[in-house]
C-alpha cells in the first residue's frame, strides 16, 4: 500500500514559497483556524494524485467549480509527494502549466524519471487505477460532506449520503439530463397542430370553391363545365373569337398567343388578357375615334380663342367710338385745344398791358406821396398839372386797374381749366385708341393662326368655318361611336370569357390544393414527418429509460455498499456516540424522484432514527459511514484524511471518535485537519502513537501559511 511520507509544494492555492510537510507518522495533525491553509495542503495531495479529475464540475463538489490551482501572486506552482510502497520510494511531482494543462513526473527508487504519458501510466499503476471518486469515498473525508449531513433538509442529507457512498456521479448525470428539458410529445403535438391547420385550410378552400362556382353559375357556366375539359373548351373558344376579331379589323394576333398551349391555363389567361389590352389600344376605329375627338377638341378650342379675341377687340372699338361720339374726333379736340391756348395767350397779353399801367400808377402814387416832391399836382409821367391828382390816381388804381386785373385773372383761370379738360380728353382718346389697336392686333394674330392651322381662305368667315367643322367632327364621332361600341361589346364578351376561364382555373387550383391536403397523410413526406416524430419520441423514451436505469444502478450500488458495511457503520456509531436508544442502524434506500437516492435511517425497531439524533449524532453517523467504507474498500493507499471531522461532535463524542482513530492509526496513517481546539487537545492526550503536529498560525498574501512543526 502506498504511504505518503512528505509533501512539498509551491504556489498551490494559498501557498506561496516552497514549503514541505512530513506525513510518515501514524498521526499527522494540522491545527489552526479556518483560512490558514490546512485544507489547501490536503487538496494539494488530491491534485498531485488526480490532476484535473479533482477540479471542476465533474467532481460533483460544488466548491470545485471555477477552482483556482495556481496562486495568482506567483508564477510557479507544483506539488511533490514523496511516497513509499513496500521498499520502493517515489517522488510524484505535478506542475501547473495552464488552466487545462499540467506536467506530471515520477522519480523512482532507481533515480529514473518518467514524464508525460509514461508518468501518467505509472501513476495509475501505483494507485491501482483508483479513481478520484473512490478517493473521496474511502480516503478523504471532506468537511463539506459532514456539513451537508448536518443540515436538517433530507434533500441535502441524501446528497451527502450519495457523496459519502461515491454516487454523486449518478446524481450529476441525472441532473445534466434533466437540464436539457427534452419533452416527449413535442413533435407529435406539432403533427396534430399541422393536421388541424390542414383541416382548417380545407374548409376555407371549400368555401372559396363554392363561392367561385356560384359566381360562374351566375355567369351562365354550368357545374359540369367547371373542370379541365370545360376550361380547355372555353380557351379554344376565346382563341377563336380573338382570331375572328383580329381578322375583321385587319390586325394580327401575336405569335406567342397563337402558339400557347390552352392547357397551360396560367400562361393562356395572361396572354389572352394581354391581347385584349393591345386590341383596345390598337383597334383602327378606336384610333380614328381618338383622332376625330382630338380634332374636335382643337377646333372648339380655336373657336373659343377666336370668339374671345374678336369680342375683346369689338369691345375696345365700341368704347372708342362712343368717346368720339360724345367728345368729338381727335382733330376737333386738337383744334379746341389750340383755340383755347390762343384765348389764354390774348388774355395774358391784356393782363400784361394793364399790369404795366398799374405799375406806373402805383409808382406815381408812391412818388407823389413822397416828401421830396413839392409839386403834388404835376403828373410825374406826362407833366400835366391837375388838382387832386394824387386822389384821382389812387381812386383810378383801386377802381379801374386793380378790379380789371382781378377779372382778367379769373377769366384766365377758367380758360386754363377748360384747356386742362380738353387735354385730358385728348389723353383719354389716345389711350382708348391704343387699346383698340392692341386688341385689334391680337385678334388679327389669332385669326391668322387659325387660318393657317385649318387652311381657311382669306375670304371665308373664320367663325362660321370653325362651327361647320366642329359640327362635321361631332357627326363623325357619333357615327364611329356606334361601331366602336359594338366592337367594345364584343371584346367585353371575350374578356368576360377570359375572366370565367381564369375563375375556372382558380377553382381547379383550389380543388387540386384541397385534394393534395386531403391526401397529405398518405404522402411520403408525411410518412417521413411521422417517422421523425416517432424518432423523437423514441429518443425521449431512451432518455427516460436511461434516467430510470441510472437511478436503478445508483440505488442498487447504494444498497450493495450499505449492505456490505452496515454492521461496521453500527459498530462505529455505537463506539462514537454510545447512544442508549440505538443498537443497530438499518438503511432503506429508494430512488429519489428528482434523481439520486433517498435514504432512510432506521433503528433496530425499524423506526426512523433521525428525529432522535442530535447534530453530534448526525456528525458521528457521517463519520461512521466514512470509516466503514474506508475499511471495506480495497484501497491502494495506506492513509486516511479527515478534514474538520468534529464539526458538531460533543466532548464525549470527540473523545470516543479519537479513540476509534487511535485504534486505526498505525494500521493506516491518519492525516487530520482541525480548527477545534478541544478536539486538538484531546487528540494530544488520546493518540498513543507517534504524531507530527503542524500548527497553522497565520496566513499572509506574500508568504502564504505560517506553519510551526511540533510533535
Amino acid at each position: 500500500m502506498l504511504s505518503i511520507t512528505k509533501v512539498r509544494l509551491k504556489g498551490f492555492r494559498g501557498f506561496v514559497g516552497e514549503q514541505e510537510f512530513d506525513f510518515y507518522s501514524p498521526f499527522t495533525i494540522l491545527f489552526g483556524e479556518n483560512g490558514k491553509g490546512k485544507s489547501s495542503l490536503l487538496n494539494a495531495i488530491e491534485w498531485c494524485l488526480f490532476g484535473n479529475d479533482s477540479i471542476g464540475r465533474n467532481t460533483g463538489i460544488r466548491e470545485r467549480i471555477d477552482w483556482e490551482i495556481k496562486n495568482r501572486n506567483i508564477k510557479e506552482c507544483y506539488v511533490e509527494l514523496e511516497v513509499k510502497e513496500n521498499d520502493s520510494e517515489y517522488k510524484i511531482k505535478r506542475a501547473w502549466k495552464s488552466k487545462t494543462r499540467d506536467e506530471l513526473s515520477i522519480i523512482g527508487s532507481d533515480g529514473k524519471t518518467t514524464q508525460g504519458e509514461d508518468a501518467k501510466r505509472e501513476l495509475v499503476k501505483l494507485i491501482k487505477n483508483f479513481s478520484f471518486k473512490d478517493f473521496l469515498t474511502s480516503i478523504y473525508q471532506h468537511q463539506e460532506v459532514i456539513r451537508f449531513f448536518l443540515i436538517q433538509e433530507p434533500k441535502d442529507r441524501n446528497e451527502a449520503m450519495d457523496r459519502l457512498l461515491g454516487l454523486s456521479e449518478y446524481r450529476n448525470i441525472i441532473d445534466g439530463i434533466n437540464k436539457a428539458e427534452i419533452k416527449g410529445e413535442t413533435l407529435q403535438n406539432e403533427i396534430d397542430n399541422i393536421l388541424e391547420q390542414i383541416k382548417a385550410k380545407i374548409e376555407v378552400w371549400e368555401e372559396q370553391i363554392r363561392e367561385k362556382k356560384k359566381e360562374l353559375n351566375n355567369k351562365g357556366i354550368l357545374d359540369n363545365e367547371i373542370n379541365k375539359d370545360g376550361a380547355k373548351n372555353l380557351a379554344a373558344n376565346i382563341k377563336n373569337s380573338l382570331k375572328d376579331f383580329f381578322l375583321k379589323i385587319n390586325l394580327n394576333l401575336t405569335e406567342t398567343f397563337l402558339k400557347v398551349d390552352e392547357s397551360d391555363f396560367d400562361k393562356f389567361s395572361a396572354l389572352a388578357k394581354h391581347e385584349i389590352t393591345r386590341l383596345r389600344s390598337e383597334m383602327p376605329d378606336i384610333k380614328k375615334q381618338e383622332e376625330i375627338f382630338e380634332k374636335r377638341t382643337k377646333v372648339v378650342e380655336d373657336l373659343n380663342n377666336y370668339i374671345n379675341a374678336q369680342g375683346a377687340f369689338t369691345e375696345k372699338n365700341k368704347l372708342l367710338q362712343e368717346f368720339i361720339q360724345k367728345n368729338g374726333k381727335i382733330d376737333e379736340l386738337e383744334k379746341k385745344k389750340t383755340d383755347k391756348e390762343n384765348e389764354i395767350k390774348e388774355k395774358e397779353n391784356e393782363k400784361e398791358k394793364i399790369s404795366l399801367l398799374a405799375v406806373i400808377i402805383e409808382k406815381s402814387i408812391k412818388y407823389l406821396k413822397s416828401d421830396m416832391v413839392i409839386h403834388k399836382k404835376t403828373c410825374p409821367v406826362c407833366g400835366t398839372e391837375k388838382e387832386g391828382l394824387l386822389d384821382q390816381l389812387e381812386k383810378d388804381y383801386q377802381e379801374k386797374y386793380k378790379k380789371q386785373l382781378e377779372e382778367i385773372n379769373k377769366e384766365l383761370e377758367e380758360k386754363r381749366n377748360e384747356l386742362k379738360k380738353i387735354e385730358d380728353l385728348i389723353s383719354e382718346y389716345r389711350k382708348k385708341e391704343e387699346d383698340k389697336m392692341k386688341f385689334e392686333g391680337e385678334f388679327k394674330k389669332v385669326s391668322e393662326s387659325i387660318r393657317n392651322t385649318w387652311g381657311i381662305g382669306e375670304r371665308e368667315d373664320i367663325e362660321k368655318w370653325l362651327n361647320n367643322f366642329k359640327n362635321t367632327c361631332e357627326g363623325e364621332l357619333k357615327a364611329i361611336e356606334i361601331t366602336v361600341k359594338e366592337k367594345q361589346e364584343k371584346l367585353n364578351k371575350i374578356e368576360e370569357n377570359i375572366n370565367n376561364f381564369s375563375k375556372i382555373h382558380e377553382v381547379l387550383k383550389l380543388e387540386s390544393q384541397r385534394e393534395k391536403a386531403r391526401n397529405i397523410e398518405r404522402s411520403n413526406n408525411w410518412k417521413k414527418l411521422q417517422e421523425k416524430a416517432d424518432e423523437f419520441k423514441k429518443f425521449v423514451e431512451e432518455i427516460e429509460d436511461i434516467i430510470s436505469v441510472v437511478k436503478q444502478a445508483s440505488t442498487a450500488e447504494a444498497r450493495n455498499k450499505i449492505e456490505s458495511v452496515k454492521e461496521k457503520i453500527s459498530e462505529y456509531f455505537k463506539a462514537i456516540t454510545s447512544h442508549p436508544m440505538i443498537s443497530q442502524i438499518n438503511f432503506e434506500v429508494s430512488e429519489a424522484r428528482t434523481g439520486g437516492n433517498s435514504y432512510e435511517f432506521k433503528d433496530q425497531k425499524g423506526e426512523n432514527m433521525i428525529p432522535i439524533l442530535s447534530q453530534g449524532n448526525l456528525n458521528a453517523l457521517a463519520l461512521s459511514i466514512f470509516l466503514a467504507l474506508a475499511e471495506s474498500q480495497d484501497s491502494p493507499f495506506n492513509f486516511l484524511i479527515f478534514d474538520d471531522p468534529s464539526q458538531s461532535l460533543g466532548s464525549s463524542e470527540k473523545f470516543k471518535f479519537l479513540e476509534v482513530l487511535n485504534k486505526i492509526g498505525g494500521k493506516r496513517n491518519l492525516i487530520i485537519s482541525t480548527m477545534d481546539k478541544e478536539f486538538f487537545d484531546l487528540s494530544e492526550k488520546t493518540f498513543t502513537k507517534t504524531k507530527i503536529v503542524y500548527q497553522f498560525k497565520d496566513w499572509s498574501q506574500d508568504k502564504g501559511p505560517q506553519v510551526e512543526k511540533g510533535s
Binding site: S131, G176, K179, A180, I182, K201, K528, F539
Partner: protein
Amino acid sequence: MKVKENVKKYLKEDETKRLWESIYEGFEKEGRDGIKKILEEKAKRIQDEFENIKRDIEKQIGG
C-alpha cells in the same frame, strides 16, 4: 464497477446503450452542461429534420 459500465449493463437496447455512451462522454468532457449539450444537439438534429419536412409539406399543400 465504474458508473458507465454499471449503467450500461442494465440497458437492453443497443441504441439506448449508444445514447448512454454519448451522454457519458458529454459528462466526462463538460459535466452536466456537457450532457445538456449532447442531448440538445441530438434533439435539435431531429427537430431540424422535422422542420425541413414540415416546410416541404407546407409547400406541397400550398396556400
